[in-house]
């Protein structure tokens, strides 16, 4: 043992050492792995279970998915053993064929187009509404906590429950929305039966579900802005818009960049809203990438595992690229993330 201190400070020192060593880029020449193991065995022992669990529950499916996307695996040629029947695997490695098919066919690109429209409109509307509501709730007014409770409600209801509720509201023949419209003398709206209305409807539900998160996060951000800044600005004669533009928005920056990133990723992969509300229909009008990947794997026959995995990997790549670009842009603007 090179270091002779109590185990606690070893762990602490170890962390410091590694951090410093890495950031400086100076490598230890004599067996860094071995040295690290013998010195920091305690830290490694603490970390090991997590590494194993992550390796099993995240690493294995991920690697398996990537492998399947390079084969022609489907329901008929994968290995399965049912009672007395045992059917061996007969799928083959096909290289990047699936990726070439996906990227050159119209289906992936078409679905991607709508997925982008869906993501951008959901995130921007949700953010705008969340910001407005957060600002309103940040003022001192009577019954503020009641409003907050009510506005958080959509978040508290399990997603599938609220989506089913919306499905009933939207029903063209028996839904409450159309009955209300009929009371006002307006013709029934084909909420989920017309491609354009269906797109509008799924976005509306997702916004409804997403606003509470935005609102709560932004409200937290607002409350961290010191009130003195507003007072000072007011003394200098700044009007409400100027105060919002020059104090609130910059003050919210670190919160809003994070929630926008998270919200973009969630919305891009928002499976339940689309699946439960329209199943991607009418036709394929509201099908986003994840619901289509699910369809390949669970709804068509024979189930196309290869195609589904290919789409899954493409989704992962797209979101990783997005996150990297987003991070770079933020860093250029001086944001630490």
């Amino acid at each position: 043992m090179a270091v002779d201190t109590s185990s606690q400070s070893v762990a602490k020192a170890a962390g410091d050492d590694v951090a410093r060593g890495r950031s400086r880029g100076t490598g230890h020449r004599r067996g860094p792995v071995k040295r690290s193991l013998s010195t920091h065995w305690y830290a490694w022992a603490m970390v090991a279970p997590v590494v194993v669990v992550i390796g099993v529950i995240i690493g294995y499916p991920l690697v398996r998915g990537i492998w399947l996307s390079l084969t022609d695996a489907n329901e008929r040629n994968v290995e399965r053993s049912i009672g007395v029947n045992h059917i061996p695997a007969t799928y083959e490695f096909v290289g990047l064929d699936n990726y070439a098919d996906a990227l050159t066919g119209s289906q992936f690109l078409g679905t991607l187009g709508w997925t982008l429209v869906w993501t951008v409109s959901c995130v921007s509307v949700t953010f705008a509404l969340g910001l407005v509501l957060a600002n309103m709730l940040n003022r001192k007014m009577a019954g503020r906590s009641v409003y907050r409770m009510l506005l958080i409600l959509p978040w508290a209801v399990p997603g599938f429950v609220s989506v089913f509720a919306w499905r009933f509201l939207y029903d063209e023949r028996r839904g409450i929305l159309n009955q209300l419209l009929a009371g006002g003398g307006i013709d029934a709206v084909p909420w989920l039966n017309d491609p354009t209305w269906a797109k509008f409807s799924v976005i509306a539900v997702n916004v409804w579900l997403g606003v509470p998160f935005m609102m709560v996060a932004l409200l937290g951000g607002l409350q961290s802005i010191p009130g003195e800044m507003y007072e000072a600005a007011e003394m200098d004669g700044a009007n409400a818009w100027q105060r919002f533009r020059h104090i609130t928005l910059p003050g919210l920056r670190s919160v809003s960049t994070t929630v926008i990133l998270l919200s973009t990723i969630w919305t891009f992969n928002m499976f339940p809203v689309i699946f439960l509300l329209t199943r991607g229909g009418p036709g394929e009008a509201t099908q986003i990438l994840v619901t289509q990947a699910y369809k390949f794997s669970f709804e068509i026959s024979p189930r196309d595992y290869a195609q589904s995995s290919t789409w899954g990997v493409l989704i992962l790549i797209l979101l990783m690229v997005f996150a990297a670009v987003y991070r770079r842009v933020l860093r250029k603007q001086g944001e630490v993330w």
């Binding site: 995240i58 294995y60 499916p61 991920l62 398996r64 998915g65 399947l68 695996a73 329901e75 008929r76 290995e79 399965r80 053993s81 049912i82 009672g83 029947n85 059917i87 499905r167 029903d171 063209e172 023949r173 028996r174 989920l192 039966n193 017309d194 491609p195 269906a198 994070t258 998270l262 990723i265 969630w266 992969n269 499976f271 199943r279 229909g281 009418p282 036709g283 394929e284 009008a285 994840v290 990947a293 699910y294 794997s297 669970f298 709804e299 068509i300 026959s301 024979p302 189930r303 595992y305 589904s308 995995s309 789409w311 899954g312 990997v313 989704i315 992962l316 990783m320 996150a323 993330w337």
Partner: protein
């Protein structure tokens, strides 16, 4: 840390789309040496909830009277979910029922995937010669029998006699008459003529057959959905909706169709015997005589209704194979079929049952019997169960004007050719 959360969310979301293929299975065939049958038989029934399911549950549980040591576990799985649910369970080797009520088109598909136990030489196949030929056709695959026919059906026009009388019209015999009758009904009563299901391509078949078209031709290995007849049929259904002769929905079609017809908001629907018991529960049909039924409207090539039905199949991984065979035999026995026919107006699959008085007297059954005999069979190839998914997408797109009838038929044809390699 934030990045950690995002990465976890990413990977977790991806995990949903990645199908890992389980292959564990420790079960062995549960053949008991001798003596009485025992154990539990889980049956997945897919009959209509609220009407048919009650009768089938009672019938299934009565199996215990014959075999006191066998427990029947009745599970009703909604028809729309059953195919996928069974596939998930069967492939992963856990959670699959011992016996499933499989739609005729699913049977060869499941058999081809190795999910079903062959029934030749088991107790399940008793008096095989008694089964109607059309009903038994879908149970055979690769020279073996994988299921026993439970019910057979076809489609016809269900109509509300009161509304027809009010409007002073006769039951339409052709698609053209359907349009004029609907127009008259709208004009005289303000009600819509027809409810056409837009979210299930099975409801499209009688229009397709009516034009002389078909999905595929298995004899010549040709895809036929995109020929002139297929395009014409797509045009026909689109016109029905455009001209307001029919209303449709892209989601929730079954519930909306039944509700609209039962409440007297539409005068007609195309449906089969499985809907009779449910339709009688509607307020318009408190007097059963108000429900009229007629052959599907003819297209330019004549009338053509699809032949459908359900089979009982045994899961190959069942731990109670013997009890399951006995259960299938019981559920398809003449006595049980006669009871189901009497209470639900469902068509038996055994010739002998049609001779029983309570079956012969049922007006719905006597209507559907000749219809079934003339009904158009689908080719019983393993891919039959795969033909609807691509078709329903295009069918809905045509009805909602996202694509033209020509393009819709063409796209459906292309996906069929992808599915059926080397077909024309």
């Amino acid at each position: 840390m934030r990045r950690g959360i995002a990465a976890t969310a990413l990977v977790a979301a991806l995990g949903v789309t990645l199908a890992a293929c389980g292959s564990d299975n420790g079960s062995t065939g549960g053949t008991k040496g001798s003596g009485e049958l025992s154990g539990t038989v889980t049956w997945w029934d897919t009959s209509t909830v609220g009407s048919e399911d009650k009768v089938f549950k009672k019938l299934a549980e009565d199996f215990t009277k014959k075999h006191p040591k066998v427990k029947v576990n009745y599970v009703n799985v909604p028809f729309g979910d059953a195919q996928n649910k069974f596939k998930n369970a069967a492939q992963s080797g856990s959670g699959a029922p011992d016996v499933i009520r499989a739609e005729v088109a699913w049977t060869p598909d499941f058999a081809n995937l190795g999910y079903l136990a062959p029934l030749d030489g088991t107790a399940a196949l008793k008096d095989q010669d008694d089964f109607l030929k059309q009903a038994a056709a879908s149970t055979k695959y690769n020279g073996k029998t994988y299921a026993v026919p439970q019910v057979i059906d076809s489609m016809g026009i269900f109509y509300n006699k009161k509304i027809f009388k009010e409007a002073g019209v006769e039951v339409p015999k052709t698609v053209d008459e359907l349009k004029s009758v609907s127009a008259k009904i709208k004009q005289k009563t303000g009600k819509t003529g027809l409810y056409l299901r837009g979210d299930d391509a099975y409801w499209f078949l009688s229009f397709l057959y009516g034009e002389g078209g078909d999905l595929v031709n298995a004899d010549t290995k040709t895809v036929t959905i995109d020929n002139a007849a297929g395009v014409k049929a797509m045009k026909t259904v689109q016109e029905l909706v455009d001209s307001k002769a029919a209303i449709t929905d892209a989601t929730n079609g079954w519930d909306n169709m039944q509700a609209a017809f039962k409440d007297g908001k539409v005068a007609m629907m195309i449906n089969g015997p499985w809907a009779v018991a449910d339709t009688y529960t509607g307020k318009e049909f408190a007097d059963k005589a108000n429900l009229g039924i007629a052959p599907v409207p003819a297209g330019s090539a004549g009338q053509g209704a699809p032949q459908g039905g359900h089979n009982l199949a045994v899961y190959a991984g069942s731990k109670n194979l013997d009890a399951s065979y006995a259960f299938v035999e019981y559920m398809s026995s003449p006595e049980v079929q006669a009871k189901a026919a009497a209470e639900l107006s469902l068509l038996p699959t055994r010739t002998s049952v049609y001779g029983k008085s309570e079956v012969a007297m049922n007006p719905m059954i006597s209507f559907f019997k000749p219809v079934v005999e003339k009904a158009v069979e689908r080719p019983w190839i393993p891919e039959t169960g795969s033909l609807f998914a691509p078709l329903v997408t295009e069918y809905t797109k045509v009805l909602t004007h996202q694509t033209t009838p020509e393009q819709g038929a063409k796209t459906a044809g292309e996906s069929y050719r992808k599915l059926l390699k080397d077909w024309k």
